[in-house]
């Protein structure tokens, strides 16, 4: 069987991992293939070859460029090894526009996709998160485990396992920052009181080689040692093992099926040449919006809004009563260190999550200009020593989501123009829920010694969470724009959507692991079908 995978992000990696288990399956992966700039990559490689003490200041300066402010969100846009390549337009963003403050950097052309720059949070969805899905979590358990066995994983058994089981073997996390540890210690001392107010706290679970981490503080700008997982690592390995072939430099334009089977028309980014590629099965993993554009334009879904479900993001700075000893990211890991979980129902479906981040240099960069003057240095340090930044997520059913509208492309060699706009379905639920989150956190503040800075709590712009999908949701008996449980949209039988575009809902639990597991499940089912 020949399988063509379009895309090289986490969904594609999950599918490729499943397919590569069968030596009789020929797997070809194509994508846009944007890469880190050579100078930045060279600096990264030099650093990876030595201990942090030997790093040259100029290399560190290149790769540690902090996140950049954008108009869409109070949260700056991350940089990876000093580059914007995960967000850069390599041709895949042609025709993408947005209304108002909507994020438009929504399709990655990078090899590895947005996983080059993600927060690495790796958590199994709660069982009840699947209540609106056409299959239970138990059907994904083997796939979750398969993925977790193939990626770096640092996680510890704690209260979060009451909702998100810890499947697979995991490293411990590296030592936490003082602030994070203070919060976790306070939670352990006052666990019953905190939980009485509906707040549960545990350590982060990360796609990170925790045992190898040297705590150099550069996690948020790119780990020089590649200890933070990116889908590109999976592809690098599968290519090296000759289990797949990979070709970058292609933009997928149109899908279809005919008597000869499924096909995809592509454009070579360098030459502009149009090429039709065929396989027995095609798996579409371009990221939810990239996939929606490709599928929608292939099925003539033009000039009508396609609703996207998004787990809305909010930024929640916390101020602690006690200060940590120094304002520095040195000697620590700076990824998400702890998670707050706020259940709003008994079943474990209506969950809100907040990921707690320790100090990193981007926070210093983001303080108001007035605090950056030499005269304000002491005040700035005093504030930063007490700062923990929470990135929170609401489930999609409490979030506004957004709409995507496709326009017919000017020619067969062009991508369909995409307009991303606010959702007509927004009921204002997110603001109400955010107030409830604030209220709970204020009630537990005396126990935890840390309180949300309410005037600075804000919902991010639509699309900014990068946790969105649901344009072709799985359904048992699909109709209209729904897909079946194998990600097939009518009338196609051999084209499978495998990324978040097929998610019926988007839980507040960070979803990359579930994307990979679901893609793995669909790909595994192809192998099972093949073997009868």
């Amino acid at each position: 069987m020949k399988v063509l995978i379009i895309g090289a992000g986490p969904a594609a990696a999950g599918a490729a991992l499943a397919l590569s288990a069968d030596p009789d399956v020929v797997v070809r992966v194509i994508d846009v293939g944007g890469r880190l700039e050579p100078d930045n990559d060279a600096a990264r490689l030099r650093m990876a070859a030595t201990e942090p003490a030997q790093w040259s200041p100029s290399d560190v300066r290149i790769v540690s460029q902090v996140a950049q402010r954008t108009e869409e969100s109070p949260l700056p846009e991350k940089r990876n090894f000093g580059s914007d390549f995960p967000f850069h337009d390599f041709g895949q963003l042609a025709g993408v526009s947005g209304e108002g403050t909507v994020n438009t950097h929504v399709v990655s052309g990078a090899y590895g996709g947005f996983s080059n720059t993600w927060g690495a949070q790796t958590m199994v969805y709660s069982a009840a998160s699947f209540n609106d899905w056409p299959f239970p979590r138990s059907e994904l358990e083997a796939d979750y485990r398969a993925i977790l066995s193939q990626i770096p994983y640092a996680a510890e058994q704690d209260d979060l396992a009451e909702y998100h089981p810890l499947w697979g073997d995991a490293d411990n996390l590296p030592s936490l920052s003082e602030n994070s540890q203070m919060i976790l210690d306070a939670y352990r001392r006052h666990r019953v009181q905190v939980r009485r107010h509906g707040v549960i706290i545990g350590k982060a679970r990360l796609a990170l080689r925790g045992a190898a981490c040297v705590s150099c503080g550069l996690c948020m700008t790119g780990c020089p040692y590649s200890y933070v997982y990116s889908a590109s690592q999976t592809f690098d390995q599968l290519i090296a093992d000759k289990k797949i072939t990979y070709e970058g430099g292609y933009v997928a334009l149109r899908l279809g099926e005919n008597d000869d089977g499924p096909f995809v028309d592509t454009r070579n980014v360098a030459t502009g040449e149009i090429e039709t590629m065929r396989a027995d099965k095609i798996l579409v993993a371009c990221g939810a919006i990239g996939t929606t554009r490709l599928v929608g334009s292939s099925l003539d879904v033009f000039a009508q809004p396609i609703h996207f479900q998004e787990s809305a993001q909010f930024v929640m700075p916390f101020a602690s009563i006690r200060a940590h000893s120094a304002v520095t990211q040195d000697n620590s890991f700076t990824l998400n260190q702890f998670n707050m979980l706020l259940p709003f129902d008994e079943a474990g479906k209506d969950l809100v999550q907040i990921h707690g981040y320790p100090y990193n240099d981007a926070m210093d960069d983001a303080v108001p200009q007035i605090l950056k003057t030499p005269a304000m240095r002491t005040i700035r340090a005093t504030l930063l020593k007490r700062l923990t930044v929470g990135l929170g997520y609401l489930p999609s059913w409490w979030s506004p989501g957004f709409d995507v509208t496709l326009e017919r492309p000017a020619s067969s060699g062009d991508l369909a123009p995409v307009r991303v706009g606010p959702s007509a379905l927004d009921t204002g639920q997110s603001s109400k829920r955010l107030r409830q989150v604030n209220a709970r956190l204020l009630r537990v503040a005396p126990f935890l010694g840390v309180a949300p800075v309410l005037p600075m709590v804000s919902l991010s712009a639509p699309g900014k969470s990068y946790h969105f999908g649901g344009s072709f949701p799985h359904a048992t008996n699909p109709s209209g724009r729904e897909s079946d449980v194998l990600g097939r949209v009518d009338p196609w039988r051999s084209i499978h959507l495998v990324d978040a575009s097929v998610f019926p809902t988007v839980s507040a639990t960070t979803f990359t692991l579930t994307i990979m597991a679901n893609a793995h499940r669909i790909a595994r089912s192809l192998l099972e079908d093949r073997h009868g």
Partner: protein, 295 residues
């Protein structure tokens, strides 16, 4: 009774009220039962007992041969909430994880009607935390209501003593779901060995709430007490109990127990699931008097 297929069922807390009763019933029904208690040895019938103590290390092979496990153990002696959490919640979670890793295919966790979303009771919060771990492992949680009947013990004994006071304290608005012990034990046995039990929460109680005042009057009648009931305002009493607990005064009733009484669950969960399994719970006070007559 014809001997059924010999499924081996483990029961923790087998020295307790419900654990002991379900062990006996399963044996009567022809199942092999492995009793777990704080120390290994023999039970009252001379049958072997395996050691499994909440909060203590779990010995290897302790679940050998066990297919189904009823978790009825809970230590109420620890009054410090942090220590109680470590022993009961973390201890129970470790047992669940170890049992699953050892291949135990079904776990039935005996929780409480005090465990519900929004509970403020420590006991309910702790039970709820274990429930979550059990449910995420695709297993079964049961929440017995106020269990009465049988040999006077547990709550039946407590209530009978209360009913013999000169004045019986009752609390306005305190309504409880009740269950006869035989119905609860029968349900536990069904869930432990039945084929079709899906993961979920099943309330083991009659769906009609009974005012605490009515419960106490019925218990008073059963024990021949003619004492009058008196409505006690619970908030000042709760405050008093909490204050006395903070200064270390030993009390016969804990503030947390009072909270459970006056802030009960509003409904019996999983009634559809219970009905689908043929589980039925007689209305209160059916079967109450027999327990005192047999005494």
């Amino acid at each position: 009774m014809a001997r059924q297929k010999r499924t081996t069922v483990g029961v923790t807390g087998a020295g307790g009220y419900l654990g002991g009763a379900v062990s006996s019933l399963l044996r009567e029904k022809g199942y092999d039962v492995v009793e777990y208690r704080r120390s290994a040895g023999e039970d009252e019938m001379g049958l072997p007992v395996r050691k499994l103590e909440l909060g203590a290390p779990i010995e290897p092979h302790v679940f050998d041969g066990v297919r189904s496990l009823v978790l009825a153990a809970w230590d109420l002696t620890e009054t410090n909430s942090a220590k109680s959490w470590e022993r009961n919640v973390e201890g129970s979670k470790r047992i669940v994880a170890a049992a699953r890793a050892a291949g135990v295919s079904r776990i039935v966790f005996v929780s409480s009607m005090s465990a519900y979303y929004g509970t403020h009771q420590n006991y309910g919060l702790m039970k709820l935390a274990v429930e979550r771990a059990v449910l995420e492992a695709d297993q079964i949680v049961v929440r017995p209501g106020l269990v009465y009947g049988g040999t006077p013990g547990g709550m039946t004994l407590t209530l009978s003593r209360l009913a013999q006071l000169p004045v019986i304290p009752v609390f306005r608005g305190a309504n409880l779901f009740t269950a006869h012990v035989d119905d609860v034990v029968g349900a536990l046995a069904t869930l432990a060995v039945g084929r079709d039990a899906a993961s979920g929460v099943v309330g083991l109680a009659n769906a009609a709430p009974v005012p605490f005042k009515a419960i106490m009057r019925a218990v008073g009648d059963a024990v021949g007490s003619s004492a009058r009931t008196m409505d006690i305002p619970w908030r000042p009493l709760l405050l008093l109990l909490q204050t006395l607990e903070k200064v270390g005064v030993p009390l016969p009733v804990r503030s947390d127990s009072l909270l459970g009484l006056v802030r009960p669950a509003r409904e019996v969960p999983g009634q559809d699931l219970a009905a689908s399994l043929g589980l039925a719970f007689r209305p209160f006070p059916d079967g109450l008097e027999e327990s005192f007559e047999s005494k």
